[in-house]
Amino acid sequence: MNGTATVRCCPQCGLALDGPRGFIQEYWEASHRHFLCWCPACDLTTTVTLAERIESHEVEE
C-alpha cells in the first residue's frame, strides 16, 4: 500500500498541496518514505513519514 501512497494535503489546514502552489518532495531513508511538505496557506513545513509498520521499542544507536 505504502509503495504507491502519496501525500496530497496539508496535515494542518487541509489545503491541497499537489497543485502548482504547494510543495511536496519525497525522499527515502532505508525503506521509509518521507514527504517534506510546505503549505502556502498556513506556512507549515513538515515531514510526513509513511510507516511500513508500527514499531515499539527500537534498538539503541
Binding site: D18, P20, R21, F23, Y27, W28, L36, W38, P40
Partner: protein, 418 residues
C-alpha cells in the same frame, strides 16, 4: 521525485513563468564592467536579449536588443554623447529607452516622443555591471560585502555553463558531494596523474545542517575530528538567495554567482576577494580587476576534471540541460536540496501575493554593506584551505595567482612530479 510540472515551475526562467517572475525581482551581474566601452554589447538574461551601452557622458544603459523601429539589432549600432544610435536608420535612444532622435522623420515631427525602447536598469559595482529587468519600482542594488570592501584585491573568473541554473544552485546545498566528487574522485584523478591526493576536501562529513535565514540558507557541517565549536559548524557559510554561494577561508572569500541566461544556459561568475589578516593590501582600482575565462573543456572536447570547479561543472552539465527530477531518488543526504526547492517555491508564492521576496533591499540604511557570515578556519584550517583551493580551484586560471600568493606571503608551489 519531483513532478514534471513542479520541475518546470522551478526551472523555467522566461518572462511570465513563476520562477521568471521571482528572479526578475533581483539584480543580476551581466558583464564585467571593463568590457563595456563605446561599443554596445548584446547579452541574454532570463531568456531575453538585451543590449548594454555606455554613452559619451559615461552613463550606462540596458535596452531591449532590437530597435523599436524596424527591429534591427541595436548591438550593431553605435554610442554617441547622449545615447545609443541604431545602425539601420539612425534612431537614437537614451539610457531610459526614450527615443531622442529620428533622422529620417520630418524635422518638426513629435513621433520620437511616443517611442520608447524597453529599458532595464544598469549599475556598476565592484568591477561588474548589474542589471535589473523586473517591475518598477526597482529595489536597491544589494551591496554585499565582497563587492564593496575597499581593502581587498579581487579577480573575476567566468564561463557559460550549458545547463539550467537550478542544478548548479542545488550543488551549493549538497555538502556531501565535496568529500566524494572533490575528495575521493578528485584524488582518484590525481593519483592517476601521479600527484598527491587531496586531503582537506576528502574529510568525512559527520553532521550537516541548513538554516533558512535572512540571506538564504546557512550551511553548517561537522567533519570527522571536529566539534560544534569549529567554525565550519559555529559560523558556516551561506547560499545567498536566489543565485549565489559564499565560500572561502584563510583570507580568500568568494561568491559563485549563477546567472540564468535562459532555461539551459547559465553564466557562472567566480568573484574572488583576497584579504590577508595580518597585512595591508595595496590599492587595486576596479578598472584593474583581472577578468579571465574559465575553460570547461580540453582540446579533445572532454571536461577538464583535474580541479574542483571542473569537477563541479562536469556534475552539473551531465545532469542534462535541465535535470529530469521526475526520475531522481533523493535520500536524507539531499535535505539541503529539498530545503532550497521549498524556499524557491515559498518565495514564488510571495511574489504571486504581491510581496517582495527575501534579499530584496529598499532601505539604503540597511544596504551600506551587507555583511555575510563565512568561516575563516575552513575545513579546520583556513591557510591550508587557501593553499589547496588556489591551485585546486578555478583560480588556477587567474592571471594574478602568483601575485595573490605573494600577497599572503605564500611560497611558490613545488613543481608537480611528471
Amino acid at each position: 521525485v519531483l513532478s514534471a510540472e513542479k520541475n518546470e515551475r522551478l526551472t523555467q526562467v522566461g518572462p511570465g513563468t513563476p520562477m521568471g517572475n521571482l528572479l526578475r525581482r533581483y539584480w543580476w551581474p551581466i558583464l564585467p564592467a571593463r568590457d563595456l566601452g563605446n561599443t554596445p554589447v548584446q547579452r541574454r538574461l532570463l531568456g531575453e536579449d538585451w543590449v548594454l551601452f555606455r554613452d559619451g557622458q559615461d552613463r550606462i544603459g540596458i535596452l531591449e536588443a532590437h530597435c523599436p523601429h524596424r527591429r534591427a539589432a541595436l548591438e550593431l549600432g553605435f554610442c554617441e554623447q547622449t545615447g545609443l544610435r541604431c545602425g539601420y536608420h539612425g534612431w537614437m535612444y537614451d539610457v531610459d529607452g526614450q527615443c531622442i532622435d529620428q533622422p529620417g522623420e520630418p524635422e518638426k515631427s513629435t513621433f520620437k516622443h511616443r517611442i520608447r525602447a524597453r529599458a532595464g536598469k544598469l549599475q556598476e559595482m565592484g568591477g561588474l555591471l548589474f542589471a535589473y529587468v523586473g517591475p518598477e519600482p526597482a529595489p536597491l542594488l544589494p551591496r554585499y560585502d565582497l563587492f564593496v570592501w575597499d581593502d581587498v584585491w579581487r579577480d573575476i573568473g567566468h564561463a557559460v555553463v550549458p545547463c539550467n541554473f537550478l542544478q548548479i544552485m542545488e550543488n551549493s546545498v549538497d555538502p556531501y558531494h565535496v568529500e566524494w566528487l572533490h575528495g575521493r574522485y578528485g584524488s582518484f584523478l590525481k593519483e592517476q596523474a601521479g600527484e598527491a591526493p587531496l586531503e582537506m576536501l576528502a574529510k568525512k562529513h559527520v553532521k550537516v545542517a541548513f538554516d533558512v535565514f535572512e540571506h538564504g540558507i546557512l550551511k553548517r557541517r561537522i567533519l570527522e575530528g571536529q566539534t560544534e565549536e569549529d567554525e565550519d559548524w559555529a559560523v558556516g557559510h551561506p547560499l545567498v538567495f536566489p543565485h549565489m554561494l559564499r565560500i572561502g577561508g584563510g583570507g580568500l572569500s568568494f561568491f559563485q554567482i549563477r546567472v540564468p541566461i535562459d532555461d539551459t544556459h547559465t553564466w557562472h561568475v567566480w568573484y574572488q576577494t583576497y584579504k590577508p589578516a595580518d597585512r595591508a593590501v595595496p590599492q587595486q582600482a576596479d578598472a584593474d580587476i583581472p577578468v579571465y575565462e574559465v575553460p570547461l573543456y580540453d582540446e579533445d572536447g572532454e571536461f577538464i576534471r583535474d580541479y574542483v570547479d571542473g569537477q563541479d561543472v562536469m556534475a552539473w552539465v551531465t545532469q542534462g540541460p535541465v535535470a529530469d527530477r521526475t526520475t531522481e531518488h533523493l535520500g536524507k543526504s539531499d535535505l539541503g536540496v529539498i530545503a532550497l526547492r521549498r524556499l524557491y517555491q515559498e518565495q514564488i508564492a510571495r511574489v504571486d501575493a504581491g510581496e517582495d521576496p527575501i534579499c530584496v533591499y529598499r532601505d539604503p540604511a540597511a544596504n551600506e554593506c551587507i555583511d555575510l557570515p563565512q568561516e575563516q578556519e575552513k575545513f579546520g584550517g583556513g591557510t591550508e584551505f587557501r593553499h589547496e583551493f588556489l591551485h585546486g580551484g578555478q583560480t588556477r586560471y587567474s592571471p594574478m595567482l602568483r601575485a595573490v600568493e605573494e600577497l599572503f606571503g605564500d611560497a611558490a608551489p613545488a613543481p608537480v612530479a611528471a
